[in-house]
């Protein structure tokens, strides 16, 4: 009945689910930027036609279930070991695209050794590094990326740098290594920055397609639940407090990458 009353309207599709993204709800908290990061990665895989040749290495942390959200082959790595697992996959399958998706506890703390050596070897893999300054899944403990003075469940009085050191700027460290050819930091706190983040992920994947070396995109992200903030407050906190400590920018873009 309704169909006869409303004439059909010609419409253009301006927004749809990327084919690399599974048609399911995620388990992420409201306001968490994992959803944005997932979508950006999925859009990039779609645009480059990589979905059917990608192997995604899941970390331990909130994004351990990433394999539920991507229509690609996946392997769940032990905590921090994703770059080593990715190395094993990529060495056997050099013509496939291997992506690790890791949080800051996973990549900067327990997996610091694995990512540094994978980068130094110039493994042809891409790492999407989600930095939200806390351990999310275990309930908001202090991470190596926690800001000075930041209160967490394991630094209730605020991070005391005299006792626990300063935040590690991992992208800057990795950029020093010969095998790393594309290392940048972006943020997901507003639309303009989200667009820049997507461009960076696209470039990182192109770097891998061209076999140039190790590529990493760090994304400053939110954790409203563990930060005890509303989603808008969390976005603002990234801009006000995280960006000054983790400046956005390109830390390594080799000439070969510029030529892409």
């Amino acid at each position: 009945m309704v169909a006869t009353l409303i004439p059909p309207i010609e419409m253009d599709v301006i927004y749809e689910r990327p084919t690399a993204l599974s048609p399911v709800h995620t388990h992420y908290c409201p306001g968490c930027t994992h959803g944005i990061a997932h979508r950006l990665l999925a859009e990039c895989l779609d645009e480059l036609g990589l979905r059917e040749q990608t192997v995604l290495i899941a970390p331990v942390g909130c994004s351990v279930f990433i394999y539920n959200y991507f229509e690609v082959d996946s392997c769940v790595a032990p905590h921090g070991r994703a770059p080593a697992v990715a190395t094993g996959v990529k060495r056997v399958l050099p013509d496939r695209i291997v992506v690790t998706y890791q949080g800051d506890g996973d990549l900067v703390s327990i997996g610091a050794g694995e990512v540094l050596h994978a980068a130094a070897r110039g493994e042809r893999i891409t790492t999407v590094f989600i930095n939200n300054a806390v351990y999310g899944m275990t309930g908001g403990q202090m991470a190596p990326t926690t800001l000075p003075g930041q209160k967490t469940t394991s630094s209730p009085a605020g991070r005391d740098i005299r006792m626990t050191g300063n935040p590690i700027r991992m992208s800057e460290v990795i950029a020093q290594l010969g095998g790393a050819v594309y290392v940048v930091r972006r943020s997901l706190h507003d639309v303009a920055n989200i667009r820049k983040a997507k461009k960076a992920i696209l470039t990182a994947l192109k770097v891998q397609m061209a076999g140039l070396g190790f590529s990493l995109v760090e994304l400053l992200s939110t954790c409203p639940t563990n930060w005890g903030m509303s989603p808008p407050e969390a976005m603002e906190w990234v801009e006000r407090h995280m960006v000054p400590v983790f400046p956005l920018g390109d830390f390594k873009v080799t000439d070969a990458v510029k030529d892409l």
Binding site: V55, Y67, D73, C75, A77, P78, R81, G88, V92, E114
Partner: protein, 357 residues
Amino acid sequence: MARELMKGNIAIAEAAVRAGLQAYFGYPITPQTELLEYLSQRMVELGRIFLQAESEIAAINMVYGAASTGVRVMTSSSSPGISLMQEGFSYLAGAQLPCVVVDVMRGGPGLGNILPSQGDYFQVTRSAGHGDFHPIVLAPASVQEAIDFTVLAFDLAEQYRHLVMVVADGQIGQMMEPAELPSMREVQTVGPDWALTGARGRPKRLISSIYMLGEEGEAFNRQVQARLQLIKSREQRCFEYQTEDAELLVIGYGTAGRIAYTAVEAARAAGLKVGLLRPQTLWPFPEERISTLSDSIRACLVVEMNAGQMIDDVRLAIGGQVPVDFYGRMGGVVPMPDDILAAIEETYARMTVRVRA
């Protein structure tokens, strides 16, 4: 193929190559390093994958990644390195991935030394990682057996989608013996139907060991246990010498078992009714055969190059039917045949006294 003089570590490496090894990841540690060095040249020469990792932890995780793609993959290490790899062993078991791990055991605990030892028995059969699993553990006593078991290890790993360890000691790894290598097997080009290759024209695949619901986790564990039971029922292996009419059964594996063989020979020459059982699989332990023999023997002597680890399994298999004595050397000391012969004579005398009483 003709027999040639070969060092144990090199023989294991070449046997793996001929069994179709496609990817090797390792880290240097004495006394297994020649294995890694040999493969650094051999694998590259054959256009296969060799990578020296930054640590044993990274090496076993590279193995995990490569195993996810369905190829024949191996790593090797020695006792302290094996301890570091336990994280990966557990994930490999949880993800049901086949792979081969060679452990050329050295003295411990701690840094210990680089001398031959069997101090890893508990580690490899009992505590290879968190959770309920045992690797299949093969224990060679000669360079020839090291070759044969390396080939067997790949077949068992694939057959059961399980972690298989070849556990030698520094003596087997370092000594040279004449042995025969198998012919070169063709490398498989078609992977199994669970391998990660990119979801081209098929549904996506997942390699994982996570089960969030208790019921799911238990169901998976039941599946693993059923597979382990199947392995237990099929794969117990041992070598026997003069066990038929033996009253005293000597049990030892690897180098200790081989030296015990010489001692048993001497005891027989002296008229003692002694036999040897040398387990070739440490897990599954050859409990059926030992249990059967416990009906006809009057005593048992376990010989190990540790403080007494396998003796627990012997006692379980014997079920208190006969007394079980122990002779062991530790910290990298290898027993001489005369030492073991003296222990045999001592146990034998006690056994005879008991019978008279």
